[in-house]
Amino acid sequence: MILQGIFDVLFNGLSIGSVLLIAALGLAIVFGLMGVINLAHGELMMLGAYTTFVVQNALKSLGEPLFGAYIFVALIAAFGVAAAVGLLLERQVIRYLYGRPLETLLATWGVSLILRQFVRSVSGSMALSIALFSLLFWGGQWLLQRRPDWEQLRGRALAILLPLSGAIATLTGVVLNSNKAIAKPWFSARNIDVTAPAWLRGGVSFGSFQFPTARLFIIVLTALCLLGTYWFLQKSAWGLRIRAVTQNRDMSACLGIPTDRVDALTFAIGSGLAGVAGCAVTLLGSVGPNLGTGYIVDAFMVVVVGGVGKLVGSVVAAIAIGTLTYLLGSGSVPLWMTQLQLSEALKPLFDFFTFFSTTSMAKVMVFVVIITFLQIKPAGLFPQKGRTVET
């Protein structure tokens, strides 16, 4: 009985831990390696989840045996969408804020709000006006850049282009909104449900145990993402460049490494991994625009407890936090105490664990443990002396 209970805790701990880890993996790169505090990381996950929803709807017409494979298409698409948005975010916002954590924090928080509202209200007309604005604003700049006197023109050109393309795009949007079909929001503020493919819905029996296939899938997916990230960072040429730039930016530049491209690539990969995580969590239940808020704190917690800059730290921290959460929340401890007939002898302890055996109280307890842990080891499980993005 006890053995079965321990096994149950270990599996569920691993399962919760793998969800934590896949959510934190991208952050381990963006925050751990680059030192960028990206509060929009959760929203990149959310974009991955919505991409999964779109891919699922698009492929529904394929029929069952083929449709079951949509999840693999969705994984790739979610990575691509999140990486592209991350790239845009890095090039347009974060790049100007390296070495200024407070500004980065505020800016990315703003971006997270924008993204959240964006999926709530995006509609055909809105998408068209944004596309029109981009075309006019950046297209116009691209055309003007060919003029030889661009440098002198620049300030005035932007002062005219920005309000002009903004006004045209807004007007178009307003006009299009009179058409109900185009003005209808794509997702609305309600939660969306992604139906897991049939082959992921059941469970796998192992003796008297029943493992949900979706959970096993997430564990395997997390392991693959982890191995892929490790391989990329340790063995590939770009991984070497990333490690060099995160340790010594100036010297890397002196060796001929294009540091700004390395920054963009690193951030895009971290964001793409968030997208994959978003795709994975759609298997666990319905998702909404606020999906990110639920994961961002956990993700930062995993990276900080693990020790910033160390992948292995995030792995250990995620599994430890996952196991602890399940151990406390499931009420396993009081159950074991009853079975071992210790509940009377150790009454206060029994009451203590019973009190904390709900999901929300377990979370409180986990936080208390983590805060205490960080008082003793502020640099986390695997501390590392190192430099992050400076200047």
Binding site: L240, R241, R243, A244, Q247, N248, D250, M251, S252, A253, C254, L255, G256, I257, P258, T259, D260, G386
Partner: protein
């Protein structure tokens, strides 16, 4: 290509041959509001070794950092191999053929010796990055060959210096910029490093810009510039380095 064209490129090439490898003109560099380099002129002739001397804090390292693009000059020009480079980002300058061995070596601490050396190939065009080149620098610095998997940060100062020079020459540079390569290194290793630098120059004919305090090493150079308070105050062939100049500009 017609013969006239060919003749013109020949002439252009000959012209380029007469130009210095590096030409710094009227350089002014500030740290915030403090004026560090004042109107500095310096040139490194092709295939020559130029030594920059001066006491601590006169702006020698600042000058080298400006050449690499780690600091932006407020005024002046830097011309490398006939091309103005003041506006180029650091990594483009490295790709044009300037290799830098900074003060304090700046070995990437948590990369292995081999990985640090592989970074030396980064400024070459992708198709010419050959790992076999590592063998050549292992011949030059045998000590590195015995520890390819040690972390760069765990090496001794002398080993790090050898690694930094090896890393710099892997990119087959046209100009090697060395900032105090003998600082804080035990005498026997200094001789080894000196010999290696001399062998590199003899084998490849590259130009060298050296900042150095160690008199024996300074004497290896063809020409010296002496700096004081952010400006060049004396220059000449190192053969004519008088005792008074040495007394004034070298911390010996």
């Amino acid at each position: 290509m017609n013969p006239i064209h060919l003749a013109m490129t020949e002439a252009a090439r000959a012209d380029l041959q007469n130009q210095p490898m590096l030409d710094v003109k009227n350089l002014d560099v500030y740290y915030g509001e403090s004026h560090i380099l004042r109107n500095v002129d310096l040139s490194v002739a092709r295939g020559k070794m130029i030594c920059l001397i001066g006491r601590n804090g006169v702006g020698k390292t600042t000058l080298l950092k400006s050449v690499m693009g780690l600091l932006q000059p407020r005024a002046g020009e830097i011309i490398f191999d006939g091309q103005p480079i003041s506006q180029l980002p650091t990594h483009r300058r490295a790709r044009l053929g300037i290799s830098y061995v900074p003060q304090g070596r700046e070995i990437i601490p948590r990369l292995t010796v081999r990985e640090n050396l592989l970074l030396g190939l980064e400024s070459l065009p992708p198709q010419t990055r050959k790992r076999a080149a590592l063998e050549e620098v292992y011949d030059l610095f045998p000590v590195l060959k015995s520890m390819p998997d040690r972390m760069g940060g765990d090496l001794s100062g002398g080993q790090q210096q050898q690694l930094a020079i090896a890393r710099a020459i892997l990119s087959k540079p046209k100009l090697l910029v060395l900032d105090e390569p003998t600082e804080g290194i035990q005498p026997s290793i200094i001789l080894e490093i000196e010999a290696a630098v001399r062998r590199i120059i003899e084998a490849t004919g590259i130009s060298v810009l050296l900042v150095e305090q160690h008199l024996h090493f300074v004497r290896q150079a063809d020409w010296y510039y002496a700096m004081q308070k952010g400006g060049i105050v004396a220059s000449g062939p190192t053969g004519q380095l008088s005792q008074s100049v040495i007394q004034e500009f070298l911390a010996v």
